[in-house]
């Protein structure tokens, strides 16, 4: 029996299909088991209800000042079809998209390595991460944003390795569109896609330049139209008021402690005390004043941001809300942000050194992931007001998982063939 197992095991381990099946199977079992284990239901915040309120507005043909359309519309549709089970259905949707994204992550890493361990470990890190399960319970945009990011990374990776057909290029543009309208924060990934297409074209690995140009142009037109629509309605050229609100909050400091609340209409009420949402209107043109204030006190603003970086060093990444529930079981799945900062500080010069030394294998794809991490962190630090850096920069989590496998492949990481010294060196 053991002999047979020994014969079969390497074949099973080397097969991508069985690997994926195993990882996804365990992820399904573990996520459901964990959700049952913590038995705490859905995680909502004061932001959750704003999506339902915005959903109603979007469904009626309006445009919301705070939220971009995708998630509010999903919430609205789910509410329409599932009624009081809307939170359950949203969680199920998050979970399903997450399980699908595991397959994409595995396929992404398979583009760059043949070694099963280097494929297995990053995928397992992503698929079995308890914080990611928790994100699926979060009735917010994080879960879909992370899963969407995995699919976008897959498309980008295909473009980098020169395996992108028209479908991949259009998919990349569409997913980017989806991600930005899901969460305006993802706007930081637009330049990455443009850069990848540009460099792939220069390298000659982009075979469908026309598709790339048309897809990017179409996406830009959609973005521009939305921004114009928003400008016509609210007087600001952008996707939402969130960044403006954050700017205002930074400028005002503690002055805006309480925001006014509204109640959801009966049609979209979700119950369980979650029917109140916060609102904010720029009644007295205070944003303009805040912007003026910030301009005058730029040094103070920059200092505040540096302090924010210092404070964020102690934050746990990936973000976890239900910390006490799995304090010790999942502690090794999280790191403090300072570890990520240090890793980035070491990896960026290392990759630059490799590039200069013309050892460029895998450098572009690793550079892509480093760029994703840096932009996520930078956007969060510049854009956020309350320093929730670990939650807002969650879309970089798949990149961090993939970096593990890619760096192992780049350095040909393996066990030494010969036994190491200690016994051989012993002097008699």
């Amino acid at each position: 029996m053991i002999k047979r197992l020994k014969e079969i095991l390497p074949t099973i381990l080397r097969s991508d299909f069985e690997n994926i099946l195993f990882i996804v199977g365990v992820a399904i079992y573990w996520s459901l088991h964990w959700i049952k284990f913590i038995a705490m239901g859905f995680i909502t915040s004061s932001d959750t209800s704003t999506y339902f309120a915005a959903g109603e507005l979007f469904a009626n043909g309006g445009i919301d000042y705070l939220r971009t359309p995708i998630y509010p519309l999903i919430c609205h549709i789910m509410h329409h079809y599932f009624g009081e089970y809307v939170l359950e259905s949203l969680t199920a949707l998050h979970l399903i998209v997450f399980y699908i994204s595991i397959i994409f992550l595995h396929r992404t890493i398979s583009l760059f390595t043949d070694k099963w361990a280097f494929k297995f470990i990053p995928t397992a890190l992503y698929a079995w991460s308890i914080p990611i399960f928790e994100m699926c319970l979060y009735i917010m945009t994080e879960s879909l944003s992370i899963s969407g990011m995995v699919i976008l990374i897959y498309c980008m990776s295909r473009i980098i390795v020169g395996k992108a057909g028209r479908g991949t290029i259009w998919s990349a543009a569409l997913i980017l569109l989806f991600l930005v309208f899901l969460r305006p924060f993802n706007v930081c990934f637009i330049p990455i896609l443009v850069l990848i297409m540009y460099f792939s074209h220069r390298k000659g690995s982009l075979k469908h330049l026309k598709s790339a140009i048309i897809s990017l142009s179409a996406t830009s037109v959609v973005f521009f139209s939305y921004c114009l629509w928003f400008f016509n309605t609210y007087g600001i050229f952008g996707f939402s008021y969130v960044s403006t609100l954050n700017l205002f909050m930074i400028s005002c400091g503690d002055q805006i402690s309480e925001l006014p609340y509204n109640e959801l209409t009966e049609e979209v009420q979700i119950g369980h005390g979650r029917d109140i949402y916060w609102v904010w209107f720029d009644k007295e043109n205070c944003v303009a004043e805040a912007k003026k204030n910030l301009k005058e006190h730029t040094a103070h603003f920059v200092k505040g941001k540096i302090i924010l970086i210092g404070k964020s060093c102690f934050k746990i990444f990936p973000h976890v809300k239900t910390w006490p529930a799995f304090h010790y079981s999942a502690i090794f799945q999280c790191v403090t942000m300072n570890i990520i900062f240090i890793a980035l500080m070491v990896l960026i010069p290392f990759e630059l050194w490799l590039w200069i030394r013309k050892r460029r294998r895998l450098v572009p794809i690793i550079a892509l992931h480093l760029l994703i991490c840096c932009l996520s962190i930078a956007t969060t630090i510049v854009g956020s007001s309350n320093g929730e850096i670990e939650r807002l920069s969650m879309p970089m989590f798949p990149s961090l998982c993939l970096l593990v496998g890619l760096l192992a492949e780049q350095t040909n990481f393996r066990l030494q063939e010969s036994a190491v010294q200690q016994s051989q060196q012993f002097c008699n």
């Binding site: 210092g310 060093c313 304090h327 570890i339 036994a419 190491v420 060196q425 012993f426 002097c427």
Partner: protein
């Protein structure tokens, strides 16, 4: 360019640079806090104990080395005692970069690994943050590094006899510096026994080895016997007993800590009749009846006590190794969770077990390092009541040796050719 490359390949140059930068960083760190010296109630207790030892008695609370050093310096130049201690701690710490380099380079045979590990060790705020404190931690960190180098020398050097005798003497010195180091005895024993077995045909070495082991036992046994005669228990100090009482009080198993007295303390005058006034010092002088009661309660509630200690261990997962740097941002960058070190050690042990059983490789130094780590964690959790991070810190240098060994088990290479 060739000259620079040549210079970088020179061990002396690399080590000097590491030590000079280490010196600059540590001085900068101390300057950032205004050259303040950390004097606590524990610092005061060393001076109090110093007077007891100087009068030819054994102190109840402290082992002799650090108190005697404090006493000696206070009797020479009281106004400068703290500064001299800090400078001594800094020098001993910087000098410990050499044994660190020696140990890593001999164990991994990779100079680059050794240089990186030594640089990280010397520049780390985890260790540097203890230099300006009048506590035993800084010396303890440096001593651990020296001990690791001696253990390496026992297995890998040609001067095994000197290394073995040196290790024995040094271990006794370390325990007399800080009774915590009792937990290092298994690690030292495993290396010495291994060396004895390997060199069983070398009579001179066998005699030296056995004599060293007997020497350690006699020295420690002698001190314990003297302590027993003075205070009625076979121990090196009452710190463990006190911490146990504190833990029992926290569990509400005993009502109070008896006779734990805090007081201001002035040392005896130095050659110019100057004194140091310690704003706070402490002693613990419980009655025998109280000690017996605590012992009985401890025995009766052993399970509860053990459970509390397990929770302490779990609690330690989320603690940070702190360091002090010039600015808050830089300081935050170097905070490390203890759980990372636990995880690394578990991985290290698994890898070494793999090498031991599958590759038939000898892992005696790795075993000693792992034992130092595990023993350090166990002693800190079991023997202390709080401040686990500070108490665990002396076993940390072994992580800086374990990490290069761990990495040397793997091979890395980066292709020269751009593959498609």
């Amino acid at each position: 360019m060739t000259k620079i490359k040549k210079l970088l390949h020179s061990e002396r140059f690399v080590l000097s640079m590491i030590i000079i930068i280490g010196l600059a960083l540590n001085v900068a760190r101390m300057a950032a806090i205004g050259f303040q010296i950390g004097v606590y109630d524990d610092s005061g207790s060393y001076f109090t104990s110093g007077d007891v030892f100087a009068s030819g008695n054994i102190d109840h609370l402290r082992t002799p080395v650090y108190p005697l050093l404090c006493h000696f310096l206070a009797s020479i130049s009281a106004p400068h005692t703290f500064k001299i201690i800090v400078i001594l701690q800094l020098l001993v710490y910087l000098s410990s970069a050499l044994p660190m380099y020696y140990a890593v380079s001999r164990l991994t045979r990779r100079k680059r690994f050794a240089a990186i590990a030594t640089a990280l060790y010397t520049w780390s705020p985890m260790f540097g943050g203890y230099i300006h404190l009048i506590l035993t931690e800084s010396f303890a960190i440096s001593c651990t590094t020296y001990l690791i180098a001696l253990l390496t020398a026992i297995t890998l050097s040609r001067h095994k006899i000197a290394a073995t005798i040196g290790t024995a003497v040094f271990l006794v010195f370390m325990i007399m510096l800080r009774p915590f180091f009792v937990c290092f005895i298994p690690a030292v024993a495993i290396v010495m026994i291994y060396a004895l077995i390997k060199s069983i045909r070398n009579r001179l070495y066998v005699i030296a080895n056995i004599a060293s082991m007997i020497g350690i036992a006699l020295a420690l046994g002698g001190y314990m016997a003297a302590y027993n005669r003075a205070y009625g228990s076979y121990s090196f100090s009452c710190v463990y007993e006190l911490n146990r009482c504190l833990a029992l009080k926290k569990l509400e198993l005993i009502p109070t800590i008896e006779s734990l007295n805090y007081f201001g303390y002035a040392t005896k005058g130095d050659i110019n009749d100057d004194v140091i006034f310690m704003p706070e010092s402490w002693v613990w002088q419980p009655s025998q009846q109280y000690r017996d009661m605590c012992e009985k309660i401890y025995n009766d509630n052993f399970v509860t006590y053990t459970k509390a200690k397990i929770f302490d261990f779990l609690y330690s997962f989320v603690l940070f190794y702190t360091g002090e740097m010039n600015s808050p941002v830089l300081e935050s960058l170097f905070h490390m969770r203890i759980s990372y070190f636990y995880l690394f050690t578990v991985l290290f042990i698994l890898l070494e077990l793999y090498y031991l059983f599958w590759r038939k490789s000898c892992v005696v130094i790795s075993a000693a390092l792992a034992l130092i780590f595990v023993g350090g964690v166990f002693t800190a959790i079991w023997g202390a009541d709080s401040q686990f991070v500070r108490i665990m810190t002396p076993m940390l240098p072994c992580v800086f040796v374990m990490a290069p060994i761990f990495l040397s088990r793997f091979s890395f290479s980066i292709d020269n050719i751009d593959k498609p």
